[in-house]
């Protein structure tokens, strides 16, 4: 069996959580790939920090654009039918006010208590947190879409984050190419393993303590 790559399986699994009419905010990287996997017939509204709901796909460089319409990743884009635009206070009112069903974000580190570090590496070049701290604070559910391990093979799913935090106890779900996990009061629960992946493999690549139910189903991707 050919294993799906992280950039395929992670957004595919997350897209299965979306229901018709949901308002969500997606971060850059793997989270931005989720819309491609949303099943036909399900319409999800995408919120962008810079003040839109319903931004369309990026216009390829050199194309004809509206210079006043960019998405939250600085791509020129269109607005889809039914879209709306607003100022930054309303945009962050939508975020902090609990009006987003989900935010899907990447991670540098995430831990078993639901702490997230995704905005700065110690000693690294400082870009800034942008809207990430508000998103993890305000969205109804925070989904982390990340590769299970760093390039050096070390686990990104830790007992305790060591990088500067984006939010304290804010994460609800963690989806990697190996597993689907949920942060609960009882600990980090292994809910599903990816097709072709064993519970033992997940455990061996996870620094965090995992709560492992008697039966761990395979991701229905």
């Amino acid at each position: 069996m050919t294993k799906l790559s992280p950039r395929e399986i992670i957004p595919k699994r997350i897209a299965m959580m979306f229901t018709d009419g949901m308002l969500v905010n997606l971060g850059v990287g793997i989270p931005g790939l989720v819309p491609q996997h949303v099943p036909e017939g399900i319409k999800v509204w995408l919120h962008a920090e810079n003040g839109s709901i319903g931004a369309g796909a990026p216009v390829p460089p050199g194309g004809e654009v509206d210079p006043f319409m960019v998405d939250a990743s600085w791509n020129y884009c269109t607005l889809l039918p039914g879209a709306s635009v607003f100022d930054s206070t309303k945009s962050f009112g939508i975020i902090r006010g609990g009006h987003l069903a989900y935010t899907v974000l990447g991670a540098l580190q995430v831990d078993q208590e639901g702490n997230l570090a995704n905005w700065v590496v110690p000693g690294g070049k400082l870009a800034g947190m942008g809207g990430a701290m508000d998103l993890v604070t305000g969205a109804k559910k925070v989904i982390i879409a990340t590769e299970h391990t760093s390039k050096d093979g070390s686990s990104k799913i830790l007992k305790k984050c060591t990088f500067p935090l984006t939010g304290l106890k804010v994460v609800d779900y963690i989806v990697t190419e190996l597993a689907f996990m949920e942060v609960t009061p009882e600990g980090l629960v292994l809910k599903e393993v990816a097709p072709g992946v064993t519970v033992e493999e997940v455990v061996s690549k996870t620094e965090a303590d995992l709560v492992i139910p008697a039966n761990v189903p395979v991701m229905p991707v």
Partner: protein, 226 residues
């Protein structure tokens, strides 16, 4: 009635050492003609408040590249590598705010509020550095002060001679609240400035009396691909 001035004339009202709100998100909503005039005037020691650092040759990035800024208050500077360079050299003070906190601090100033309390940033570097934890109604928040400026510079799509402003698409972002939160508000206008009565009152996003100076934009809006 707003006065209509050239960018150079408008910038004569901005002095060294002032705090300046700059509208724009990825420089959409940033008045480039006014920024260019600020650079040409050789302004220095400014405290600049903006969502982000723009790019090296767009928006706030131009003020940074030309040594106009002493302190920068932003939420993100991912396309302006000059920011960490200037900070490392001790030539720039950088204050990072979560984006929603920044917007609300500006709004608080414009709306006459004593500050904001927000759950954003609890337990993070924001609390360590300058947030003050308060406990209200059984819940923890961070208190932040209002953020007022001497001058606000924004870009609008349409305006009339009363100073009424209309933005296009995502051009608004911080512009609307910044117009409320400064002693002097200068708006650069993309379309030819219109007579009073030509804008529908239902569409106006910043009421005219809050805008002091209008500057007619000279060139086309520049598209900058990532």
């Amino acid at each position: 009635m707003a006065v209509i001035l050239s960018a150079k004339e408008a910038v004569s009202k901005i002095q060294d050492g002032m705090t300046v709100h700059v509208g724009g998100f990825y420089a959409v909503g940033t008045p480039e003609d006014i920024i260019d005039a600020m650079v040409a005037k050789g302004l220095k020691d400014l405290t600049v408040v903006c969502n982000d650092g723009g790019a090296p040759d767009k928006g706030v990035g131009k003020l940074l590249s030309n040594g106009c800024v002493k302190k920068l208050i932003i939420s993100w500077g991912g396309r302006t590598p000059i920011i960490p360079e200037l900070v490392d050299k001790g030539e720039l003070e950088l204050e990072l705010n979560p984006q929603g906190t920044l917007a609300e601090r500006v709004r608080a100033a414009g709306w006459g509020l004593g500050g904001i309390v927000t759950p954003t940033g609890l337990g993070t570097i924001i609390e360590e550095k300058f947030g003050q934890r308060v406990h209200l109604n059984g819940q923890d928040f961070l208190y932040h002060t209002p953020l007022k400026a001497d001058a606000a510079i924004v870009a609008a799509y349409r305006a009339d001679k009363a100073g009424n402003l209309i933005f296009r698409r995502v051009q608004n972002n911080f512009c609307e609240v910044m117009c409320m939160a400064a002693d002097l508000t200068i708006a650069q206008v993309y379309k030819p400035i219109e007579e009073m009565g030509e804008l529908d009152a239902d569409d106006i996003q910043v009421p005219g009396p809050l805008v002091d100076v209008l500057v007619q934009q000279t060139g086309e809006e520049r598209v900058m691909w990532r």
